[in-house]
Symmetry: C2
Subunit: 210 residues, 2 copies
Amino acid sequence: MVRDLYDVINRRRDTRREFTGEPVDPEALHRVLAAAHCAPSVGMSQPWDFVLVRSRRTLETFRDHVAQEREVFAGSLDGERAETFARIKIDGIVESGLGVVVGYDPDRGGSHVLGRHAIADAGLYSVVCAIENLWLAATAEGLGVGWVSFYREEFLADLVGFPAPVRPVAWLCVGAVDDLPDVPDLERFGWRHRSPLEEVVHEETYRLRA
Amino acid sequence: MVRDLYDVINRRRDTRREFTGEPVDPEALHRVLAAAHCAPSVGMSQPWDFVLVRSRRTLETFRDHVAQEREVFAGSLDGERAETFARIKIDGIVESGLGVVVGYDPDRGGSHVLGRHAIADAGLYSVVCAIENLWLAATAEGLGVGWVSFYREEFLADLVGFPAPVRPVAWLCVGAVDDLPDVPDLERFGWRHRSPLEEVVHEETYRLRA
């Protein structure tokens, strides 16, 4: 197991192609979910939920929905972008064998959440911190994680039975992998490249790029 | 340095009271920012910016704004909640000596960000993943981090010169600490308690709580 924080941060990849379909070890999954539940949250509201989806039928239903949304996005692209995108696999929903649907419950934490009165999205931010913890822990456990965002929120809320006002924040494909690639898929296929750190760090005030 | 992922996840705290005011080692800060920049991002858009604020005058200006917002929140509380809140320190803006203002630039990544067509907030989620990476790396480096969310976004955007459409997502107090507390402040002061993992994990579909 690779557990050095910086190694894990560097090895973490968005996984689409590498799932083996082997079942996830229940104890490893428990550690991964516990790491998510240990994330920071605004006013300690812990406003997250995790629905573990293994039913083949539900996985296939979601995969079909995502395939439709892929077409919507593909239809917005021209020329080189369309050709590049056509080569990129965007999900491993069925192959991974496990979907972790992450929800945000704004009613968690009572009527006065400390730190949320001025920034309504602070609760949503907490949920994303939990997702990143989950992703890093899964990487340490040798599992792959792929964050799927080609879906309509209403569709996913309905699929897993989120009652209002619980909002879906992510579908994470979680599963065993032989290995994680060194280079992100989007870089490998020429979609985008990593930018230098200097471009995003500013001293005292934001400076416009040349 | 504590670098085991699970140890870091468990030791991470929201820091308000523990800053010593010692300057942050520049190499440690570079590793922490590099860890943030290594976060996952939708369509590899890397839509984050980090403004490092050390100017005493800017720190004090922001502290005063946060103090006002604290009063706004306090005014919404009654009885026991008001008394409990009065004992809780909510920031170490000046004491830490360094503010890292994190921004989200929705224009980063071109006109077609892969994975954002259906979920506009996916770009914002990427920025929060970077914040969690930063927080964990800082913890590994023995630094404290406090996420301040008692502010108005317009005020902070103006203070550090974010041009539209760049949106402030966080003010992070980052600084040297003697140690991190074992128990979160909000738990120690009786504001909220950690919930059991079982309450937030569901099988196949969301189940309502009893």
